[in-house]
Subunit: 269 residues, 2 copies
Amino acid sequence: MCELLAMSANVPTDIVFSFTGLAERGGVTGPHVDGWGITFYEGKGSRTFKDACPSSESHIARLIKSYPIKSETVISHIRQANRGCVALENTHPFDRELWGLNWTYAHNGQLSDYKDKFAVRRFRPVGDTDSELAFCWILEKLVARFGDERPDDMLPVFAYVAELAEEIRALGVFNMILSEGNYLMCFCSNNLSHITRRAPFGKAKLIDTDVVIDFDKETTPNDVVTVIATRPLTDNEAWNIMQPGQWQLFCKGEVVGGGTFVANTDTCA
Amino acid sequence: MCELLAMSANVPTDIVFSFTGLAERGGVTGPHVDGWGITFYEGKGSRTFKDACPSSESHIARLIKSYPIKSETVISHIRQANRGCVALENTHPFDRELWGLNWTYAHNGQLSDYKDKFAVRRFRPVGDTDSELAFCWILEKLVARFGDERPDDMLPVFAYVAELAEEIRALGVFNMILSEGNYLMCFCSNNLSHITRRAPFGKAKLIDTDVVIDFDKETTPNDVVTVIATRPLTDNEAWNIMQPGQWQLFCKGEVVGGGTFVANTDTCA
């Protein structure tokens, strides 16, 4: 299994505090030593930092913890390998361009009997994880459904991704985070939680290392920042624990869509 | 204009020495202050570090100069913006997946009247540079010529890219570097040079900053390392200055293909 972390905010925000907690799980408080990565969107552009070595020991992770990159959308992942060896090409997040947008994706879980289902042609995996192949299949299905032109309304696109994610969940565990820069989507199979911070801001204390932050000093009253993580990162705040089959779509920190699949039926789209 | 740097080696090799020289041109010895990037291939995987700020001031560039990442294929670029504003999405190298391979590309030069020529559908630019659009067009043409399956023999693929590059050269200045991880191709419009270092290794002295390296102490007798740069990076070695319309293909440091277009005729393929 792995650990996921993501952020959606209405102002460029640094994720140093949350990443510091996550990185501890890559070798100190958690066993996820098989690589890590983080993608920052800055405007239409994005950049991904990756390392196949444990995040708690990585020079590059140290840079990310000490050099605040301001971003409105972030996706991060620390890996405990199951399918696919420990190698850079198997390190999340994965990214692909579609419709002139950089899509970024990370997965926590493990799938079985998936190779026949995930027939791909245009988008192909570079590494050999179930995760990257599932991502390629999702993009393949998006093109089949929506064509080569970027849809004006992206909400139906993410609703369709949720349907595909629910199909994938039938093959195993599929906690997933996906973004094209503007929207941030998460899909819960068994372990995903989120929190939205807004004024009045308070203090937060990391579970995994002895760090406290006073968000009131770091923010302005209009800031809205949502953080998604496999497990809550702080122990003095109320995180929303997602349900199996539940998905949420965020934009600029706010919920803009979501629902829960129960026995393959979307009950509250 | 911009500056290009690339490396092809038969053993994982760090590019700290050459990158140190290049990074000086991003604000100290050169005017290329509009961002920089570097892509390292490690096995089938790759990772790109990018910054929209000058390489001479960048925290991330400092990491790259101090933390040797060993790679067999590297592409780097420092930017002086002409087409497209200073932004992460306009920062080279650009990358796309095709045939399950990560393709990485960087361009030095400027094109005119290019929009009608570069009709794209499957591969679309995220930013608004002529460079990224030309890259998307090249990939579009590769799919049109070779289909969705990866060709067993990649040499005809790169020979076709050279033909496309020669077409693009008619639109302006097109110095270009391209790789899918295994092969490294460069195409010269007006400014590109390369050097292949092999035993017996000697000392090299950077032009742009006061650094000397003794490669004999850093290498083994079997190492073959080719470096490509817009302008020679050292002043005590014999660099090969490429001709307009000339292209070279390297694999594991050795030349494996190339030729020169003269009046649109390939004279020595």
